[in-house]
Amino acid sequence: MEGARNPFAGNEQALLAAIVNSSEDAIVSKDLHGIVTSWNRSAEHIYGWRAEEIIGKSKALVIPPDLPDELPTILARIRAGERIRHYETRRVRKDGTIIDVAISVSPVQNLEGVITGAATIVRDITESKRIERELQQRQAEVETMNQRLTRAMQETHHRVKNNLQIVGAIIDMQTLEHAASRSVPLEELKRLGNHIHTLAVVHDFLTKQIGQHEHEQVLSSTAVLEQLLGLLKETSGSRDIRADIEEVDLFSKQAVTLSLLLNELVSNSIKHGTGDVEVNFRVLGALVQLCVCDDGAGFPAGFDPVAQAHTGLELVMGLTRTDLRGEIYFENRKEGGACVRVLFPLPNRDAIAGTGASVKETSA
């Protein structure tokens, strides 16, 4: 270009020195013993050592203590005439800060072609490494959330399908029981409606807390049963339902079963008994007891629940025995009235804490 003038014309050494000093990368040289022989401005900036402080001293000053073999290995390869291409490692600054760096090392030869040392180009990649680590962390978090969401969707799908199976089964059993008359009594449809409400209550609770538990989902007995009793009171007319519910953590399957049982037993008490319905749920040692009592005529003498079994009674007995692994008692109170008592093992606290054996969630 006209008028342009090369200030280093004829002085190639000065030009090279200017290039090295203006580089954003650290450019340093050392002899074959690792003694620093040159140190540019960027090296001062990256390592915190000024040139006059480090020239003549060992390059080991910038190698972290946990990488003692790195400098001897580099020097051995340089002596063998090997060029060490870009690799990532760590270095230590004068103030002790560890930094991430990308390094290339090349042998330096004298005029006779003898290797006398090495030239190292160093780039500080601490910031890009930090961003990379942050991205990896974010990616891992997204992956965890994705897994949790997938699990929650699978659980919800399974639970909804299971609820549909329960509803379908109850309808089917009613259909079979009333096949001869070819019509199902309105009362049974009302009972089915209550069961659907019951399943919806438990489903609501489970959906609110889905994903919060890594293992088995657990529900509070007071939260679920009191909410359900509230619904039953709405349809019990003048009959009051008095409840005393003790707090117990229940597995989701137990919560579903207990809710269906409670619905069935309270509906029976309202239908067959008189006066208020009394619901009592308490822990008795290693067992949990659910009692539903009324002030009616009680069970007739010689009452045999097996012989008298109809769908409702079979449902209650099946839920107790198969789902809760418990026992059921049909009793008459001294002061009059019927009382159905269900006893089942207390949910395993270790399993609830996620440290013990898991209990099966729902059937497939």
């Binding site: 399974h158 399908k161 299971n162 549909l164 199976q165 329960i166 379908g168 089964a169 109850i170 309808i171 089917d172 059993m173 259909t175 079979l176 029981e177 096949a179 001869a180 079963t257 269906l260 009394e278 009592n280 009692c291 009592c293 069970f299 009452f303 045999d304 629940p305 097996v306 079994a309 769908t311 079979e314 449902l315 007995m317 099946g318 839920l319 107790t320 025995r321 198969t322 789902d323 026992e327 059921i328 008692y329 049909f330 009793e331 008459n332 109170r333 001294k334 002061e335 009382c339 008592r341 099966k360 729902t362 059937s363 497939a364």
Partner: protein
């Protein structure tokens, strides 16, 4: 504690876990039989392995209504294998997601010993499960939910396949 009379009725342990006479509870339903054409299943001896009480109850009622004999009920895989080997039924209705031993492993153990028509009855609709069930030699794979009108024709078809295979 609510006071009760000493004469309380306790439902016996065996009520929900052992065989039932087909005449007990649900009588064979002629209408159902005619509607579904489930004659081939009549008098067949069946074991039901299902851990969900309501579904177990429903399956039992469907089988009894179709004129089958429910010779065993079980709520886990181990108990299921035991019941089947003990009673040697014609048919086994077997859930997959069972406690103690899953249904496919239970089917494998059963079919190593005896050859009933094992029908998997499950909420799992995956191809992998179906293939595994087929490899084991089961004669049917039915996906829940089921009703009497959907289950019996499928059960009948499975049993026909089983009979053809046995000839």
């Amino acid at each position: 504690m609510i006071p009760v009379r000493p004469s309380a009725v306790r439902v016996p342990l065996w009520w929900s876990c052992v065989s039932h006479d087909p005449s007990e509870g649900v009588a064979p339903d002629e209408t159902l039989r005619l509607e579904t054409g489930a004659d081939i299943l009549r008098d067949k001896r069946v074991v039901i392995v299902e851990d969900e009480a309501i579904t177990q109850l429903q399956l039992r009622k469907i089988c009894l209504a179709a004129g089958m004999q429910v010779v065993g009920l079980a709520a886990d895989g181990e108990q299921g294998v035991h019941k089947v080997l003990e009673t040697a039924p014609d048919l086994v209705l077997l859930d997959i997601n069972l406690p103690l031993l899953d249904g496919l492993s239970a089917a494998e153990r059963i079919l190593k010993e005896i050859s009933p028509c094992v029908v998997m009855l499950t909420a799992y609709d995956g191809e992998e499960y179906r293939r595994r069930a087929q490899e084991l030699g089961t004669c049917g794979y039915i996906v829940k939910p089921v009703t009497s009108s959907t289950l019996l024709p499928k059960l009948q078809a499975a049993y026909q396949r089983f009979q053809r295979g046995a000839q």
